[in-house]
């Protein structure tokens, strides 16, 4: 049996400032090359899961483990996890005035190369990689010249996230509510971008509360998330079932 790309074992997480436990024993395995979806209501702990996996400060893991490609990542810093091949596409990408998008992309690519003991990328190679990746996502030069995410529309921000994903070539991608704030056309561009990055050595965990996104990014498995744990897993048809029956049928709570 091959090592899964992501393995979450009985993960318990609480928010340090509040002390409340948000994740209450999550078990989830994403095999190599597969795309899994997590669906759940707002407030069910989906975003907490993505932050806990990426190592964000303030999310205390009280029990359990997270393994990336067979190795526990819980002792690693946020940047080390990224260099190890983890990528989080943000629900709300952060606007950073004063940092040019290109400068940021180069810093990120070279930081990861350096962490892996590879040579830094020269400017011509870097430019070529960005141009190739940008073309497929309808990202023009003018957008790349602006400060990182500053003044980007909702669609531009999400496309910029996928561009980063394409350039950083992660093994494991977590897409947090990538469909939020997108109209139908933008959703298609972003989904096509994501689908183009699917491959045998890359796994994805797509977090969403609408089934809509999963028409475009068709998952291998669907997990229903409620009250801090996975309550049901199935194939892509589970998303349709969920859409017709509603979350209440799965978590027993009124909508």
């Amino acid at each position: 049996m091959t090592t899964p790309m992501l393995e979450i074992r009985d993960l318990h997480v609480r928010i340090e400032d509040e002390g409340t436990e948000i994740l209450k024993g999550v078990n989830l395995t994403v095999p190599r090359g597969e795309v899994h979806a997590i669906m759940g209501r707002n407030g069910s702990g989906k975003s907490t899961l993505s932050y806990a996996i990426s190592g964000r400060e303030g999310y205390e893991i009280t029990e359990g483990d997270v393994l990336l490609d067979g190795k526990s990542i819980l002792d690693m810093e946020v940047d080390e996890r990224a260099a190890a091949g983890l990528f989080l596409a943000f629900q709300y990408p952060i606007e950073i005035p004063g940092v040019a998008t290109m400068t940021f992309l180069k810093a990120a690519m070279n930081a990861q190369r350096k962490a892996r003991g590879e040579d830094e990328l020269g400017t011509p190679e870097f430019m070529k990689e960005v141009r190739n990746a940008a073309a497929g996502l309808s990202i023009d030069n003018e957008m790349l010249k602006r400060a990182l995410n500053v003044g980007f529309s909702g669609g531009e921000k999400k496309r910029a996230e996928i561009l980063q994903m394409a350039l950083l070539k992660p093994k494991m991608c977590i897409l947090d509510e990538t469909d939020s704030g997108l109209d139908i056309d933008a959703l298609k561009v972003v989904s096509d971008g994501v689908n183009a990055l699917r491959g045998p050595d890359r796994s994805m965990l797509v977090i969403t509360h609408y089934q809509r996104l999963l028409n475009h990014i068709v998952p291998d498995r669907v997990h229903v998330f409620a009250d801090g744990r996975v309550v049901e897993s199935g194939d892509k048809d589970l998303a349709l079932e969920l859409e017709s029956k509603g979350y209440a049928a799965f978590d027993g709570k009124a909508a």
Partner: protein
């Protein structure tokens, strides 16, 4: 009836009084004897209590050591070296630049102990006059060499009607307990354009005082950028007066402050006539237990209608021990004006830091990127490519240095 209590004078004040008396500056000596150095009860020195912070004053005689290597250089600039207060310049100045030594002190008298001492200790000044459109940057390179001494300098920068100039003043020197008291008066003629950059890279043991006075005539376009990243104790006082309509000035500065440094910038601007506009943007980045202070005051005179003045100060604290003080003040006597001020102080934004780190950028590098972004907009104001490159290098060097613990 008020009873005048005699001021208790400390050793630093006694030395300063003796130095002033020896140059015949009786008025300044008497003023200092009567009032002493300002303490924190003097509003203008609220954040920089000279009575306690200036404990010793070195002698006024410079040692004969060779001048240190230049710390800041700009490709293609015309340089005037002011070594231990003595000016010398390379060859004949380029067209449109007239350099001369003139009688008297350049600053106007005012009720300020640093100005009083500066006027008392210098009886002549260096005058740099610009006529027409002057291309090369003029770099006044001040250096305090050798053992600790007390130096006062006086410079008049005059930009003639319709002339354009870029002036850089940089201060550096040996790491000795120098006391530098520098005065600069900037007189801008009608329709004059000036970019004025001031950089303090003095040694940590040095005490650095700089007073600037701007006289701003009709239709002037002025940009200033002060960069403070040296001197254990520094105090910059900027006085500006808009005296002609249609003028616009952008005053700005950044304090890049390390542990054990105390840097105080005070800005005092008067919109004296109608139809003048200004922006003031001052930023501070503080590491270790450093302290940065900014006091900005804008006065709009009664008939100075249509004044538009926007003042902002922003502080970034990179450690728990860092201190930033900021005090904006507006005094408006006219009724048809647009004036505003704002101040923010905080540490690096956690969300931004997480975002950069989630892309593989280590924390220190991410913090560096965000700090650089914080001051970037000030550097962007410098259009001259060579000067911009030199200033960017200076800021980058500070950002990538470890800082003193």
């Amino acid at each position: 009836m008020t009873i005048a209590m005699p001021i208790r004078l400390g050793p630093a004040e006694e030395v300063l009084i003796a130095q002033l008396e020896s140059t015949g500056a009786k008025e300044a000596a008497d003023a200092l004897r009567a009032k002493g150095l300002p303490n924190r009860k003097v509003e203008a020195y609220h954040y920089t209590d000279l009575k306690t912070m200036l404990r010793d004053v070195p002698g006024t005689t410079a040692s004969a050591d060779a001048v240190s290597a230049p710390k800041f250089q700009i490709a293609g600039a015309y340089r005037v070296l002011i070594a231990n207060g003595v000016a010398s310049h390379d060859g004949t100045p380029p067209n449109g630049i007239i350099v001369s030594e003139e009688e008297g002190n350049a600053l106007n008298p005012r009720d300020d102990v640093i100005v009083g001492m500066n006027r008392g200790l210098t009886s002549s000044h260096l005058k740099v006059r610009f006529e027409g459109s002057v291309d090369p940057v003029v770099h006044l390179d001040y250096r305090l060499a050798g053992e600790a001494h007390h130096v006062a300098t006086s410079v008049l920068i005059e930009v003639a009607d319709g002339a354009t100039a870029t002036v850089v003043q940089s201060f550096s020197g040996s790491d000795a307990a120098h006391l530098g008291n520098h005065g600069t008066r900037i007189v801008l003629g009608k329709d004059a354009h000036l970019l004025h950059v001031i950089i303090d890279q003095s040694g940590m043991a040095t005490r650095h005082f700089h007073t600037m006075e701007y006289a701003i005539d009709e239709k002037v376009q002025l940009k200033t950028l002060g960069i403070n990243l040296g001197a254990g104790l520094s105090r910059t006082s900027i006085f500006g007066s808009f005296n002609g309509g249609g003028a616009h000035a952008d005053f700005s500065g950044m304090n890049l402050i390390d542990a054990r440094m105390h840097c105080d910038v005070k800005l005092d601007l008067t919109h004296a006539v109608p139809d003048t506009t200004s922006t003031e943007l001052y930023k501070a980045v503080v590491r270790g237990d450093g302290t940065s202070a900014f006091q900005g005051r804008i006065v709009v005179a009664q008939d100075a209608q249509k004044t538009d003045a926007k003042m902002m100060s922003q502080g970034l604290m990179l450690s728990d021990e860092a201190q930033i003080f900021t005090k904006p003040e507006l005094e408006i006597y006219a009724d048809d004006v647009q004036c505003g001020h704002g101040a923010t102080t905080g540490d690096l934004d956690e969300n931004s830091l997480f975002y950069l780190m989630s892309r593989g950028i280590p924390k220190d590098e991410a913090a560096g990127i965000l700090t650089c972004a914080f001051v970037q907009e000030l550097l962007d104001r410098v259009e001259d490519a060579e000067l911009n490159e030199a200033l960017t290098g200076l800021v980058d060097e500070w950002l990538t240095s470890e800082g003193r613990a």
